[in-house]
Symmetry: D2
Subunit: 152 residues, 4 copies
């Protein structure tokens, strides 16, 4: 297991991530909270809600993906210079177990920091049921952008 430690370029990274998170209205709509911001690592939680389910009553894959994507994107943003933003180029998600329980925790971390492209891993854990269960695993590619959301 390789564990990477990153030095942020912008000392105000936490404030910048938090502020951007609060501009994502979807996160508010689904009741998500930003629960951890560290250099290259971000955690987001969402409570279970009946309004976000698929046909079997589990949280919809799109919601699981939304919080994993935001966690990975903000993990990447935590390492960018002030004044920049991050866009999602693509991601791939495997679904490992039904997304049920009291809440979901998405954790994203950077595995490769590049000048243009940052690669992240994310996972989503369901807690508050019988046991903690990993419900999804993401591998994502992010690109640095200017403040208007235009990719480098």
């Amino acid at each position: 297991v390789v564990t990477l430690t990153f030095q942020p370029e912008d000392p105000n990274f936490e404030e910048r991530v938090t502020s951007s998170f609060h501009r994502q209205k979807l996160m508010e709509t689904i009741g998500a909270a930003l629960t951890r911001v560290a250099p290259g690592e971000v955690e987001i939680e969402v409570p279970f809600s009946d309004q976000l389910t698929q046909q079997h009553g589990y949280l919809h894959a799109g919601i699981v993906t939304a919080i994993a994507d935001s966690a990975c994107g903000y993990a990447s943003l935590s390492l960018s210079p002030a004044g920049e933003e991050v866009l999602t180029v693509e991601y791939k998600v495997n679904f490992l177990a039904p997304a049920r329980g009291a809440r979901l925790i998405a954790r994203g971390h950077v595995i490769r920091r590049g000048r243009t492209i940052t690669v992240c891993e994310g996972e989503v854990i369901a807690v508050g049921g019988a046991a903690e269960v990993r419900v999804a695993k993401m591998q994502a590619t992010m690109i640095r952008s200017n403040a208007q959301g235009r990719a480098k």
Copy 2:
């Protein structure tokens, strides 16, 4: 370009897809509608809503993904025998343009129908802006399951 035509195993496939779609509460929450069900092909629309946006005011990648996933899953379900369901094993999505406009249309279709695994492609188009723009492309793997959502 290979175009595949599929023979459904269940003549009531349309009713079955429609009924399952209406059990996905997330689809109702985001205002999505099932606009086309054909053997191996499904279309879902969602109107733009400020409540579903990311930090630049575009629809969040998780919402784009949610409708593409449901379109692919139901494209697969349209070909399954009566009494079965479909689960998402995994997907990969590339984001091609910002998800803005009056509404998004997700189209999913089956590219390989197997005994256990079905492979689908999906795309999401933004309409009602300056022009129709393809905003995302999905490649997804689905698995047949029993009625309780247990994979084969």
Copy 3:
């Protein structure tokens, strides 16, 4: 079905693609040939060889992937300015059928051409068996690089 037509930036794109292909020693090692170069579209063929098989005697997924990757990368390169190169950021491949037959044909084409990132689709067809069979489908992300292979 959206069909895109692209205008190459470099009129010598075909020569540039061909010359780069011939520097890929793996292509020579496996006997691959570049059979078509058009703006945004490239085709590569490889004959079946017992030396490239997996445990059931089919062509190994890595070989199927290698020609699909090169086809997608060169589809992207066909649209880049003179003096640039292309690197693979990532790809995802679904395997649809066993890779057997007299030869495989990989086709790659660009589905989104950006200033930095190009997104491609690829497929691999097995021919010369009972029928043409699509054995794999790729979705790939490429990045423009300078001549030394350093990403933009």
Copy 4:
């Protein structure tokens, strides 16, 4: 970091993995060796060879992918019952650095073991250069099959 330990179903798993590996003629062709087989974890090494390169003289993405795929597939096979085989449904690979150095080591391990579907992660490390460098990260989906390579 979640570390999983698995109990193999077949006590002869190592012999079974080794025997299958030696039937993959591609592995012999590229000079790959099986260097570790544990329950749910497999390691494969390949020496650098000029015959396997892309246009910049690095190992081709297809070769990096081939050993990561075999490592993941055999990690999955190490946990299957006697008499079964494993097929690759799909994988996604991010390329993190140029594949150069004296040799590459691919490590695959299982992150979710299911009745039908097994999900694996793989990484490829380049060694023998200035430093160990992670060159690729794979997320892969495998399916159990019968001895003739027919998926469950």
